[in-house]
C-alpha cells in the first residue's frame, strides 16, 4: 500500500526527435507511383497491387496531411467531426479497394484508376493522419488489433476462395496475396506489440 499512485516511477526522459520529411514524401510518392513504369510493375501482380501500391498511395495522403501545420490539421479534424468520422471514412474507403472487382475495374477503366490515385490518399491516408494524434493508446490499440485480425481474415478469404476473384490476376496470384495478407497481419500485430515493450522515447519514434 505504500507505493501507490503518487510515487510512480519517474517519467523517462524523452529527447526531441525530428519527424520524417513529410512534405517531400507527399510530393514524391504519388509522382513516383504514377509513372508508367512503376504503375506497370506494381500492378503486375495482385500482391504488389494490393499490398504495395495501395498502401503507398494511402501513405502519400498521410504524408500530405502531416505536412500541414499542426494548427491546420487540428482545425480540419474538428471541422469534420473528430477522429471517429475520419476513421470510418478511412475504413470504408479501404474496404472498397479490397474488393477484387474494384481491382479489376482500376486495371480496365482509366477513370477508376484515376479515382484510386485520388481516393486512397484523400479518403484513407489523410483521414488517418487527422485522426491519429487525437487517438489515445486505447483508440490506436483498437485500430491496430482490429486491423491485424481483419487483415488475417481477409488473407484467409483470398486463400480459401473457391473462385478466381479477379479477371486480371490468376488464382495463384490470389492465393499468394492471401498469404502475404496473413503474413502482414502477423507482422503488424507483432510490431505493434513490440513497440509497447519499448521505452517511451522509442515508442514515440515508432509512431
Amino acid at each position: 500500500m505504500s507505493r501507490r499512485l503518487a510515487d510512480g516511477h519517474a517519467p523517462a526522459h524523452r529527447p526531441r526527435i525530428a519527424g520524417p520529411p513529410w512534405r517531400p514524401l507527399a510530393i514524391a510518392l504519388p509522382v513516383a507511383l504514377a509513372t508508367p513504369w512503376m504503375r506497370g510493375w506494381l500492378e503486375s501482380s495482385m500482391s504488389l497491387h494490393m499490398l504495395v501500391q495501395m498502401p503507398l498511395l494511402a501513405a502519400a495522403g498521410f504524408a500530405a496531411a502531416m505536412a500541414l501545420p499542426a494548427r491546420s490539421r487540428e482545425a480540419i479534424a474538428l471541422c469534420v467531426g473528430g477522429a471517429l468520422p475520419c476513421l470510418l471514412v478511412a475504413s470504408l474507403a479501404s474496404m472498397f479497394w479490397m474488393i477484387p472487382r474494384a481491382l479489376d475495374l482500376a486495371l480496365s477503366e482509366p477513370t477508376l484508376e484515376a479515382a484510386k490515385f485520388v481516393t486512397l490518399p484523400l479518403l484513407v491516408g489523410a483521414p488517418l493522419a487527422l485522426a491519429w494524434p487525437r487517438l489515445g493508446m486505447l483508440g490506436r490499440g483498437f485500430v491496430w488489433t482490429n486491423f491485424a485480425s481483419m487483415l488475417a481474415v481477409l488473407g484467409w478469404l483470398y486463400r480459401a476462395s473457391p473462385l478466381r476473384a479477379c479477371n486480371a490476376y490468376p488464382v495463384s496470384d490470389q492465393r499468394e496475396a492471401g498469404e502475404w495478407l496473413i503474413f502482414l497481419a502477423i507482422a503488424t500485430f507483432v510490431g505493434w506489440l513490440a513497440t509497447l515493450f519499448a521505452a517511451p522515447s522509442s515508442r514515440q519514434r515508432m509512431r
Binding site: M1, S2, R3, R4, L5, G8, H9, P11, A12, G136, M137, L138, G141, F142, T145, N146, A148, S149, M150, A152, V153, W156, L157, A160, S161, P162, A185, F189, L193, L196, F197, A198, A199, P200, R203
Partner: protein, 492 residues
Amino acid sequence: MAAQETTIDRGAHPAVLAYLCIAMLVLLLMMVFGALMRMEQAEFIAMGPMWFYELMTLHGAGMVGVAGIAGIAILWHFLGQYVRLSAPVFVANLVLFVAGVAMILAAVLGGNFHGGWTFLHPLPSKSMGTWSPNAAALFLGGMLVIGTGFLLLHLDIARAILAREGGFGRALGWPQLFGRAETAPPPPTIVAATMATIVNLIGIVAGAAILSMMLVNLYFPDFGVDALLAKNLIYFFGHVFINATIYMAVIAVYEILPRYTQRPWKANRVFLASWTASTVLVLFIYPHHLLMDFAMPKWMLVMGHVVGYLNTFPILVVTAYGGLMLVYRSGIRWDMASGLLFVSLFGWSAGVMPAFIDGTIPVNYVMHNTLWVPGHFHTYLLLGMMTMVFGFLYYIGKSAREMRERLVDRAAFAVFVVATLGFTLSFLSSGRSGAARRYAVHLPEWVPYDRIASVFAVLVVAAVAVFATRFLLRLPAASVDAPRATLAGSMT
C-alpha cells in the same frame, strides 16, 4: 509495519461490485447446470441428451466468462491503486459482456445450439439439423462481443501501465531482472496485470480472427476453414484466456495476504523471472490439448509436451512458496478471507498436477478424452481460481479488522473445501477408470462415481450460495474505505 497498521483498505468501486454480483449470480446458475449434468449422468434425473449438451455448452462458456470477469474485477480493484484506470471502459466491458451472454443464452436456449463452449470447427456449421446457422452465428457473435469488451479493457489497462512504467519490459521488472537497476521493481500487482494483459491481447486477436472466419464459413461454406488450423487458434485463444484468469485473480493473494501477515510480498528476481517465463510459456502451452491430433506437426506436439511441463511450475512455485513463507510464523489471524486465499494456493497447486500428468504424451493418449481432464480444471478453477475470488469477496465485504464470523460461514468454508475435493476426486477417479468426457449417458460401471460426484456437487453449490449471500448482504460495506485485514498477532 507501523505504516501498514494504519493503512485503510480501499473500498470497491461500484463497477467492481457490479462485476462481482453478476459473476456470483452467473456462477451459481452455472453451478446448478453443472450439478444437473452430473445428476443426469448419475441417472438421478432424466433430461435427455439435447438438454444435457445445451447445459454443457452454457456451463462451459458461462464458467469461462465468470472466471474472466471475476478475475479482471480483482485486477482492476488492486491495479487501480497504482495506476489511473478508466471507469467508463471498465463499465463498457461489463455491458458488452452482458450483451454477449444474452446472445449466447439466446443461441443455446432459443436456438438449441449445443456445440460446446469450444465451438470446434466444423461442428457449429454441421449440426445435422439440430440447430440453425443463425443460432451458431449468435453463439459465435456473442463470443466476439465478449472478446471485444475484454480487448478494450486490456488496452486501457495497457495504457495505464505504460503511463506509469513506460514499457511492458519495465512493468515486468526487466531492468531489475536482467540489468543492474537500482530502482525498486514494480509491485507484484503490476507485474501480474502486465502479464495477463500481454497474453490476453494476443489471445483475443487470434480468437477474433477465427471467430470471424467461422462466421463467414457458416453462411458461405465454400470458403473452407482448415479444421486443424481452427482447432489450434481456438485452443490458443481459449487456453490463454482461461489461464489468464488465475493470473489476474492471484493478485488478491499478493495484495491481501501481506496485509494480514504484515509482511510485504517482494517482487524479487526469482519472482520477476517466473512471471516473465510464464508470459512466454503460456502462449506455447496449448498444443497439449492437441496431442491426440495425429496430423499436428511433431515439433508442435513436442513443444506442447515440454512447455506443458515447464509452465506448470514457475509462477505456481513462486506463489505457493511465497505464500507459505509469508504465513510461516507470522502469527496470522485466520478468518474467511485469509483462509480461502490460503486454500486457493493449495487448490492451484493440486489442480495443475493432473494436467502435468495428462501432458505426458503416452498418458494423454488414454486419459485426455476421459473425465480426468475435467477433474484437473475443476480443481484448478474451483479450488484455485474461484477460491481466490471468494477470499476477495470476504475481504472486501469486511467493515472492520475484527469481525466475528458466523458459524454458517465457517461451516460453509469446511463444506466447500471437503465437497470440492470430493467432487474433483470423483472426476479424477472416473477418468482413471476410463469414463468418457462429454458423454450425456454413462456406462453402468461409471454411474457410481457420478452419484458420488452429484452429492458433492450439491454440497459445493450450497456452500457457494452461502459465500454469495454473505457478499450480497455485505455490499454496502464493500464500497467503503475501511481497515479490513485482521492484523497478524493483533488478537490474543
